[in-house]
Subunit: 465 residues, 2 copies
């Protein structure tokens, strides 16, 4: 029953069409976790997934949390066979700026073989590929008993885009239920089109909000200009002092414990098909500024960063308003690498900002959320099984790379469930996750379905061998 049949032949045009229709239904639900106004849509998306998994023969439920619900489903009908836990998230980033979207963010539209919608790749599309992968595998059953060659659990949360604050407590409360031999996550981007990839590292995150107050109100710049502290000018000064002219973060202790790259990694990455000019052109950039002394890939995967994610203050409307802003604010996040603890980094920036604030600046640094960086052992059998599945589907061996993003919950899985994590990304950066016109190539979606099914077979077979 778990012979490694060629699944591709069994993934019929009908099944592909149905897999697309179902995904589009999920993409139509505006499940924006950051916006309280979408609470109802969050519940709707959770129920959508629960019902689908139940229909596949899973014992499925939605569990309330202090935030948005968690969808949990299990299919445990292969005694003695390995158990995998597949994680994904059904929440999406806010759609802003809406006017930059060519088609409505929650109206999935197919153009040039890609489906355009918020969440298409991050993470509805990639998570749903596993659901359809399991469905494909079920259709391989020797009989109609809807059996699988291994035990599968799904854990789909609704708060990944806002820091997964309630998932770690959930995992803590359900450690026995969630127990697994491996945890599969497809929530990132692989290296390039035509390059199947297994990711073995992720950056962590520290995200804060800085508020600067100069005066108790906006002031007339004629009457007060020259004496009143300007909150925007002061905020700009603070931001400009957070990095030096070499692109290094100036926060004392920021780089303590950061591990150097191994020569193996440097060599492995130097061999990857990457071209700075093409990379810059793909985002319309005239340069790729960053920390001196490192290649672009090294800066993206193995070096910490600091970026302002949003800024506001004073008059943003039409025309010219001559005010001195009384207050201004900015969202600032730092991507972290192994050796950096998010809570420590957050404390460091909270202590540092007041020391670089200009005279007259009343500052507050609020911690929003954080996530641990991750490094995975390339030798573990589940990573290897994922690699073999990719080779089967793509006809070539995968590359092993790191990702620049964060999946805060990965470290919680490793600490609480003591199971190896497999990061198997189907999407691409060019899918524009978090950006207007986010999309997902339908070919990547279907390859994801096939890879998921094949990987589950490999894992089942690998254990029996």
């Amino acid at each position: 029953m778990t012979t490694l049949a060629n699944l591709t032949d069994h993934y019929t045009p009908e099944a592909r069409a149905q897999a697309e229709t179902e995904l589009f239904g999920l993409l139509r639900i505006p499940s924006v976790s950051a916006d309280p106004a979408h609470a109802g849509d969050m519940a709707h998306a959770a129920e959508f997934l629960r019902a689908k998994l139940a229909a596949l023969g899973f014992s499925a439920r939605t569990d309330e949390t202090a935030g948005h619900p968690v969808v949990y489903a299990e299919h445990l009908k292969a005694p003695g066979a390995p158990t995998v836990l597949i994680y994904g998230h059904y929440d999406v980033q806010p759609e802003a700026p809406l006017d930059k979207w060519e088609t409505p963010p929650f109206e999935p539209t197919v153009r040039g073989g890609r489906v355009y919608a918020r969440g298409a790749t991050d993470d509805k599309g990639q998570a749903y590929a596993h659901i359809r992968g399991v469905e494909l595998l079920l259709s391989q059953g020797a009989d109609s008993s809807k059996t699988l060659p291994l035990n599968v659990k799904f854990l789909l949360e609704g708060e990944e885009e806002v820091g997964s604050a309630n998932l770690e407590p959930y995992i803590r409360q359900h450690q026995e239920m969630l127990k697994a031999d491996a945890i599969i996550i497809s929530d990132g981007s692989r290296f390039a089109p035509d390059v199947p990839t297994v990711t073995y590292g992720l950056r962590g995150l520290s995200y804060v909000e800085v508020h600067v107050t100069g005066a108790n109100r906006d002031l007339h710049s004629g009457s007060y200009g020259g004496a009143a502290p300007n909150a925007i000018n002061m905020l700009a000064n603070i931001i400009s002092r957070l990095k030096d002219d070499q692109g290094r973060v100036t926060i004392p202790g920021f780089y303590d414990g950061v591990e150097d790259l191994t020569e193996t990694e440097r060599g492995m990455w130097a061999g990857l098909p990457h071209d700075d000019a093409a990379f810059a052109a793909s985002i319309g950039a005239t340069a790729l500024p960053g920390e001196a002394g490192y290649s672009t890939l090294e800066r993206l995967w193995a070096r910490p960063t600091l970026d302002v994610n949003g800024i506001w203050g004073g008059y943003q409307g039409e025309g010219s308003k001559t005010v001195i802003a009384g207050t201004a604010g900015a969202k600032i996040s730092m991507r972290l690498v192994p050796g950096q603890d998010p809570e420590r980094i957050t404390r460091l920036i909270q202590a540092y900002v007041p020391t670089i604030a200009p005279e007259g600046a009343q500052v507050e640094v609020k911690a929003l959320h954080g996530g641990q960086p991750v490094l995975i052992d390339l030798e573990n059998p589940y990573v290897q099984a994922a690699g073999r599945a990719l080779e089967h589907v793509h006809g070539k061996p995968p590359k092993f790379t790191r990702g620049g993003g964060s999946i805060p919950i990965v470290s919680a899985f490793r600490e609480l469930l003591h199971a190896p994590v497999v990061l198997l990304d189907f999407g691409l950066n060019e899918d524009a996750p978090h950006s207007p016109n986010e999309s997902f190539a339908l070919s990547d979606y279907h390859n994801g379905v096939l890879t998921s099914a094949r990987m589950l077979q490999e894992i089942a077979a690998g254990r029996e061998a």
Copy 2:
């Protein structure tokens, strides 16, 4: 007929109540010139003033311009007597931020002897004080012939808050009609409560908008952080480089031609009742940062400045969105002093910003508007007449100060009408013009009415003497 009767006795409680009711009616009209959505309200406010002046016996009209209408009215029934032109504006600043208003900005509300409303002091209240001043003077006529001891013209525009772009062409087209011996303007703030003031200097203005582009879209800070140019970080760097740590503007040539203060002025201002601590406390500031080597009043009245008036970029909503902003923008204005030409300063900053922009920043500096700085000869007889009127109403001689704000059109009046300008301010900075909860003390309003009437008598008498 033009004996200097004591007007105060004739300014009855009934007349005061009526003067308030009429002003509140004008304040209820949301005449925000910067917002195209308020075009209808602009026309409504113009007609309100035209009708009032017509009712006073003026030949009054509203003239269309490329922008908002100009109200012109004349009362020329005193052959041989001097002619004064009274300027004001009926447009107001946008009300944003609306949530900071204790009562609705366009619902005049009296609290503690002050009327709270957008435009209360800037400039509806101060302009209307002259209209009621003329009305008071008319009520002094020996007969019921509605005569005045001099000739009066009113010019009330609707674009002062957006740069008066269409008023200079209007003046140019109507130079003969607008001809006058003096031009009276009440559109600023006097020095302090209990300190009657004549203003003899104003700062000019150069207002630009800076746009920075780093990439063609917002990018995922995980996938791109460390390599992609961040528009917000780059904009913050540009802003921080516009001033040095001594608070001096770094734009090459910015200070060329700036005149030093005379010892007389320094002495005159040093003698004014000003306290830095009280000034800082009045705006909730912990410091009064600014250009080193100058007192606060010197920095406010006689030194140029640079302030960011608004900034935007990236995600400004709830929660944490991990994007690298593709674009960011800021509104930046510079207050100018005698010796600085606005157009030259605008060209200087347009040339300078690209030279301080970080690698990867695609910058654009758009000129929004400007205004010439002004210095007035204290010896001219109309300034002296205003001073005597203030002394009559307040029972003490006025102080002579400068203002930090700009009235761009003043220089056009001087160049095109070749007449001396009198800056007679009834309002105060604490009225919070351009800020939430703008207000105007009713006592200042009524003193304005009396001062205006008395000044017109003084001018008429002065000429006959």
